[in-house]
Structure formats: C-alpha cells, structure tokens
C-alpha cells in the first residue's frame, strides 16, 4: 500500500537577503507517512521542522526532492490538506464563527449553509457561546481552538499542525493536547504535528520523528507503542518515561550545544 504522504529527498532552502547565498533549512529528507497515522516531529528551533510542513502544505517550493500526497506530487495548496499555525493566524476583524468559515469561503464550498457548518465546528472544539467573539477577546487556548476548528471545517484528509500549542502556557498546552487527541480519534485523519516538547510528541504521536539542525535532517524515527485512547496520566507511566529518556538522549547527544 502506498503511503498517504511520501517525502522524497526533500531539500528546502531560503535566500539569505543580506549575506547572499542560501540557507538550507531541510536537507535531503525522506519520510513515509501511512494513512491515518499521527506523526509528531520534534527537534530544536531552527531545525527546519516547520519547513517540512510548509512543503507538504504546498506553501514553499522545495529546492530539490518532492512531496507526494496520494502518489501525486504537491505543486501548491490543496483541499486535501489544512494547516494550523503557531501564531493562530486568525483574522482579527472576523468573529469566531466567521474565522471558521474562512477556509470554507476560500475553498468555494457550496450547497450547504457555511455558517451552520462553521458553527458545528465551533461547538466541536468547545467554543459554543463564543461564536460572536473576536479573537482579541479570547485567551490563547481559545484562539487556537478557533484555528483548529477552521482547519477541521474544510474536512481535510491531512492535518498539518505547526507548533500549534507553542504560544500557550504549560497547563493549557496539556489540556489542549488531550482535547486534540479526543477530536482526532473520532476519524483519525493523517496528522503531522511539529513541536518543541518531547512529552507532547510522545503523548500525541504514533510515530515520533526526531530532527536535528544544521541543516534539518532526521536523526531517528521512533514508533510509540502506547494504547489509545491515551489518558493524560499516561505521562507518568514507566514506558512513557523510557520514551522520554530515549528521545532526549538523541536530541542532546546529536545536537552540539551551540546556543
């Protein structure tokens, strides 16, 4: 069976505006993601994990290599993929429900009441009663719920989450992860989740991909053999702790202390 997503020798480079030349964010990276798996990517900042997601989303062009989704090369954004952003990226002039509608409008959904559909997703992420609020009236956690609802509302096959809880405090972060899993388990879309947090990576993922920087490449791919649904106190079990130890070991031994 072909993987849902195949990343094949992906290199992503950015022009250096002042120094000239190019900054290699991701170098010759290959990864297969089977359908319905939750993959988490963990690594230090600047290791190019976000660039991997942007390449899958079709928002950045690879310098070389390619990304295949359902065996077809990615040439740009598509309705089969939706993204959740670290900075939430909500339109400040739109209400919660209008923000959730945003993707539906842009993807030219028709044949159903878009506001009604958006409202269903507002409820799904637990924001009922807040649909007429504007982003600045919400806490960080609530804002990212809107971001998640906006991505889910367009019913993508693949969910791309770029450090979605990176801007949240530790407690909110944990409960958001827990809720995200509950929603995800309803239909198990293929998901790629980028994070700094080792615990988050283990708790959410079927597979943890460990990346190193300079330039971004995969150090190790670790399957997480923990049963689902996963309760929050799973984090205190010996197996979890052992995963944590292994991943931390990889990250510290392979990344020279530069910063």
């Amino acid at each position: 069976m072909t993987p849902h997503i195949r990343i094949d020798g992906l290199t992503v480079a950015y022009d250096k505006p002042l120094a000239g030349g190019a900054f290699i964010a991701v170098a010759n990276l290959s990864l297969d993601v089977p359908r319905g798996t939750f993959v988490t990517i963990v690594g230090p900042s600047g290791c190019g994990k976000s660039s991997v997601l942007l390449a899958i989303a079709g928002l950045t062009k690879p310098a070389s290599g390619r990304v295949l989704v359902n065996d077809a090369p990615v040439v740009g954004p598509g309705r089969d993929r939706a993204m959740v952003f670290q900075e939430f990226a909500l339109m400040p002039w739109r209400t919660v429900v209008e923000n959730v509608r945003f993707g539906l409008e842009l993807q030219r959904w028709s044949g159903e009441d878009l506001t009604a559909r958006a409202l269903r997703y507002v409820r799904l992420v637990g924001l009922q009663g807040f649909d007429q609020y504007r982003p600045h009236q919400l806490s960080g956690g609530m804002r990212q719920r809107v971001g998640i609802a906006r991505a889910l509302a367009v019913d993508p096959e693949i969910l791309l989450l770029d450090e979605p809880f990176g801007a949240l405090d530790a407690q909110t972060r944990e409960s958001m992860g827990d809720e995200l899993l509950k929603i995800w388990e309803q239909d198990k879309k293929t998901a790629l989740f980028v994070t700094h947090s080792i615990d988050e990576a283990i708790f959410l993922g079927d597979i943890v991909v460990i990346m190193s920087k300079g330039p971004g490449r995969i150090l190790e791919t670790i399957p997480i053999d923990l049963p689902r649904p996963r309760p929050i106190d799973l984090m205190d079990t010996p197996t979890f702790v052992e995963y944590r130890r292994r991943i931390r070991h990889h990250l510290t031994s392979e990344t020279p202390a530069r910063a």
Partner: protein, 240 residues
C-alpha cells in the same frame, strides 16, 4: 466636566479683561462682540457664498485625494519594485508642507478654485498614500499564509486579507489627510483668492475687524474638529 469649567473660565476672562482695560479690546474683541458679529455675518449674506466656495474646494480636492490615494497606496504596498521607485520623492513630498508649493500651483492653475482644489489634493493625498502603503506592508505574514493554505487566489488574498487588514492604517491616513485638507483650503484662500472663508479672514484682518474675523476662525475650527472627530470614531470602529 473639568474641560467645561476651563472653557467657561476662558470665556469669562476674555469678556472681563477688555472691559477692565487690562487688555486693549481693539485687538482681542470680546465673546459678546464676537457673538453679535456672528449674527451680523449670518444675516449679511456673503457667509453662505464663502462657505459654499470653501466647502466645494475642500470636498473636490479631498474626494480626488481619496479616490487616487487609497488605490495608489495599496498598490505601492503590494508591489515592492514600484515602491522603491517612488519612495524617495514620496517621502520628500510627505515632509514638505503642501503650502510651499502654493506659488507654483498658482502659476499653473491661476487663482480660481482649481489651485485651491490642487492644494487640498496634494496635501491630503500624500498621507493617504503613505499610510495605505504602510498598512499593506504591516499585514502579518501568517494571515496571508493561512489564506493561501486554503487555496486562496491572489485576488482572494487581496480582498479577504490585505484589504481588511490594512483598513485601520488607511483610516489613519484619511484622518491626517482631512486636517491637511482643511488647512490647505483656508491658507490657500488667504493668499490667493477673491472669495471663500480664508479670503474673508484675511480681509477682515486687514480691516482690523477682530470680532468678525474670529467668527470665521471659529467656524473653521468647528468644521475641522467635527471632521477629525468623525474620522477618529470611524477609525476606532474599523480597528476591531
């Protein structure tokens, strides 16, 4: 409340000081005299003509500035090459008081309404262009990425992200443009005109009619205050 008291105190001392001969009423006039001058002017008849002239100059110049400035500013914000091209002259114009250009405008357009419309236009179009341009450039990158991730076309990105996101900055430009437009019309009329509110102020000044002069000044400041207050209200509304 405190500002009401302040205004009352000011009016009272303005009325009393000349009566006590602390200052020469010939130069300062008094509120009561200004009031009766106001009644005179309203009855006199030329006020409506002068106000109409000034207002049409203001409205025509500002409408042109709005119609040209917003699209030009948005375009300059969107296309960097274009921006690099016009940035130096634009910034030079932004820093130049529009009235410094008055003599040359008069040379080109004469002393009729055209030159006043031009002064109003030049004064208000620059802040509108500069702020609209800044508005586009300040649009947060993730918002554009989010739109594109949902398959937005370039047109979608412009209409659903760039335009609403830069609206608050555009409104700041409009407010700044408004005050420059009021200034432009009055001062231009003072120097080169045979009618209009500014012209009246100048004439009355030369004729030492301080009370009548102040009526026109108050009219202009009330007009300017009303406009900028309205613009500020609008600004708050669009700034989420």
């Amino acid at each position: 409340m405190i500002s009401t008291v302040a205004v009352a105190l000011f009016l009272a001392s303005w009325e009393i000081a000349p009566r006590l001969r602390l200052v020469d009423p010939f130069f300062t006039s008094r509120p009561s005299q200004v009031l009766s001058a106001g009644v005179d002017i309203v009855r006199g008849g030329t006020l409506w003509h002068d106000a109409a002239v000034s207002l049409s100059e203001f409205a025509a110049g500002f409408a042109l500035a709005l119609a040209a400035g917003v699209p030009i500013g948005l375009m300059l914000g969107t296309f960097p090459t274009l921006r690099y091209l016009v940035d130096p002259p634009l910034m030079a114009l932004y820093a130049t008081p529009q009235l410094a250009l008055l003599p040359i405008i008069v040379l080109w357009l004469g002393i009729g309404m055209g030159s006043k419309i031009a002064v109003v236009f030049i004064g208000s179009v620059i802040p509108i262009v500069v702020n609209s341009m800044a508005g586009v450039r300040q649009v947060e990158r993730p918002l554009v990425l989010a739109a594109r991730s949902f398959c937005a076309t370039r047109r979608d990105v412009f209409i659903k992200v760039i335009l609403p996101a830069s609206l608050p900055a555009v409104m700041i430009g409009v407010r700044l443009g408004l005050s420059r437009a009021v200034l432009g019309v009055v001062v231009a009329e003072m120097y080169v005109s045979q009618e209009g509110v500014g012209n009246q102020i100048m004439r009355l000044g030369s004729a030492f009619r301080v009370d009548h002069l102040l009526v026109y000044v108050l009219l202009v400041s009330a007009f300017g205050l009303g406009l900028t207050t309205a613009a500020r209200k609008l600004e708050e509304r669009v700034a989420r």
